[in-house]
C-alpha cells in the first residue's frame, strides 16, 4: 500500500537533496571523464572519516569532514601522480588508489573498533530509513527535525553556490582545460575545488545512503540525462529531475517490497538508465533520416 506520511516525506526529501547534490557534481565529473574518480573519492575518504572520528570522538564533528576532505584530495592527487609521473593507466591508478585507501580505512575501523561507532555495513550501504529518529536537538532541548536532512540541505546549498559561482570556469575547464589555462583560468584550483566538493558530499551523505549509492547518484543521473540532451543547462536540469525521480520511486518500491531504500534507489537509477538507452536509441535512428542537410560554406 502506498502511504504518504511525514516520515516518507522526510526520507524522500533528504534523498532528493542528496541526489541533486551528487547529480550537480556528477555532471561535471562526467564531462571531465572523471566519473570513476568520483567513485574513487567516495571510497577513499573512509580513512579520513575514521581518523576524524578518533580525533573528535563523534561522527558529527567538523574533524570528520576535514579528514574526509583531505583524503579525497589526497586520492585525486595520488591518481594524478600515478598517471602522469609513474605512467600508470588512468583506470589502473584509480583502482590502486581507492582500494588501498579504502582498505586502510577498513583496517583502522577494525583496529579501533572498540572506540569507533562505525562499521563497514553502514559506510557501504547507509540506512536512510532511520533518518526520522535521528533528530537534531538543540542544547535547550528543542527538536529541529532529522539531523541528516539538515546536513543534506547544507550540502546542497554549498554545492549550488559552488557551481553557480564557478559555472563559467567549470564549463571551460571541462571542455578545453588547456585553453582555460592559457586565458588565465585557475584550472587546477577549480579542479581541486570540485574534488573537495565531491569529498564533502560523500561524507555528508554516506551515513544516509552509503558509499555505493553516492557513487550511483554521482554517475547514473548525469549519464542518463546525457542520453537525452547535448546542451549543458538542460543536462543539469534533467539530472536533477532524474535524481528526484529515483528518490521517489526508489522509496516507494522499497516500501512495497520492504527492502533497503538505498539499494532500491540504485536499482531504479539503473532501470531508468537502461530505459533511456533503449528509447534514445530509437530516437537516434529516427533522426538520422531527417538530419541530412548539406551545409554550404559562406564566407
Amino acid at each position: 500500500m502506498m502511504s504518504f506520511d511525514q516520515n516518507a516525506f522526510l526520507i524522500i526529501f533528504t534523498a532528493s537533496m542528496i541526489a541533486i547534490s551528487c547529480g550537480l557534481l556528477g555532471v561535471f565529473m562526467m564531462l571531465r571523464k572523471m566519473s570513476m574518480t568520483g567513485d574513487a573519492i567516495s571510497h577513499a575518504v573512509l580513512p579520513g572519516i575514521v581518523i576524524g572520528f578518533l580525533v573528535s570522538g563523534t561522527q558529527r564533528g567538523l574533524e570528520v569532514i576535514i579528514g574526509a576532505g583531505i583524503l579525497g584530495i589526497l586520492a585525486t592527487l595520488m591518481i594524478d601522480w600515478l598517471r602522469k609521473k609513474a605512467r600508470v593507466q588512468l583506470d589502473a591508478s584509480i583502482g590502486i588508489t581507492f582500494t588501498l585507501l579504502f582498505a586502510i580505512g577498513i583496517i583502522l575501523i577494525s583496529v579501533f573498533a572498540y572506540r569507533v561507532d562505525l562499521d563497514q555495513e553502514c559506510v557501504l550501504y547507509g540506512e536512510i530509513a532511520y533518518l526520522p529518529i535521528d533528530l537534531w536537538i538543540s542544547s535547550s532541548g528543542q527538536s529541529f527535525g532529522p539531523r541528516i536532512m539538515w546536513l543534506a540541505i547544507l550540502n546542497l546549498l554549498l554545492v549550488g553556490v559552488f557551481i553557480t559561482l564557478f559555472y563559467k570556469e567549470l564549463k571551460i575547464t571541462s571542455f578545453d582545460e588547456k585553453f582555460g589555462i592559457v586565458i588565465g583560468i585557475p584550472a587546477s584550483a577549480i579542479n581541486l575545488g570540485l574534488m573537495s566538493m565531491v569529498s564533502y558530499t560523500t561524507v555528508s551523505s554516506f551515513e544516509a545512503v552509503g558509499a555505493i549509492l553516492v557513487v550511483a547518484l554521482l554517475v547514473v543521473p548525469p549519464a542518463t540525462a546525457y542520453l537525452w540532451t547535448r546542451d549543458l543547462r538542460p543536462l543539469i536540469q534533467l539530472t536533477i529531475l532524474t535524481g528526484i525521480l529515483v528518490s521517489v520511486v526508489g522509496y516507494y518500491l522499497a516500501y512495497l517490497f520492504d527492502s533497503s531504500i538505498a539499494g532500491m534507489m540504485v536499482t531504479v537509477a539503473g532501470i531508468v538508465f537502461f530505459l533511456s538507452v533503449i528509447l534514445t536509441h530509437k530516437k537516434f535512428k529516427f533522426s538520422l533520416g531527417t538530419q541530412k542537410e548539406t551545409q554550404p560554406f559562406s564566407s
Binding site: E169, F175, G184, R230, F297
Partner: protein
Amino acid sequence: MIKQVENPILEIHDLTVSYDQSPVLWNVDLSLPAGKLIGILGPNGAGKSTLIKSVMGLVEPSSGYVKLFDQTLDAVRNRISYVPQRESVDWNFPASVLDVVLMGTYGKLGLFKRPGKKEKALALDCLEKVGMSAFVHRQISELSGGQQQRVFIARALAQEADLYLMDEPFAGVDMNTEAAIFKLLQEMSAGGKTVVVVHHDIYSAVNYFDWFIMLNLHLVASGPKNEVVTEELLRKTYGGKLNLLSKVSELIRQKEFNPLKG
C-alpha cells in the same frame, strides 16, 4: 639562416624542452616581427606544437625563456590568442557553437562574471567572420571537421588579441575552408595582428606565409620568405625526403617564385 629582428613581438631565448629526458626542442633562439603571417614548418615530431605550447606556458621548458611584447606571459595573457589542435577536445561536449565562441571572452571577464550582451554581440561578429553565422545554435557534436576548426578560430578571434598562435588550423579541413581561413588570416595580419601558424603542408605554405620558422628539433631557419625558402634549408628541415623536396623546388620554379614581386 636565423634572422633576429628589432622590437620583436615574440622572443624565444635558448629554449630547450624535454619529455622524459629526451629533448623535443633543442636550443631554439628566435625573434618574430609584428604584423606578419608566420608559418612554422617541419616534419612530424619536429617540435612544432611543442614550440607553441611552450610559448603559451602549457609546456615547462628545461631551459630558456619566452618574452611576449617584451614582457612575461602572465602580464600579457589578454593580448595573446590560442587555437589548440581540433582533436585536443571532445566535440561531444554539451555546448552550442555560440557557447564555445563565448569561451574566448572568459579571459577578459575575470572570475564570477558571466558573458552578457556585449560578449554575445562580439561572439556573433566573430562567427560571421569565419562564415558560421548559420550555425550559431548548432550543437558542436553535429559539426564537420572544417566547421569545428572555424568555431575554434572564431573563439580565438573573440579573445581580441594582438598575437595569434594556431596549432594546425588547416588539419583535416577541405580546400574551400582552407582558402577561406587563410584569407581571414591575411586580413588579420594586414590589420596589424601577428599570426603564427603551425602548418604541415609545405606546398601550400609557400603561398600562404610571409615569414617562416623551420624546425627539426633544432631551429633550422627563421626569416622572411625570400631568404629562407630555399632548397638547401628545406632539405635541412625535412632531412632525406628528397623526393618530396624536389617536388617543392619544382613547384617554386614553376611559379617563378619571386618574393620581390610579392
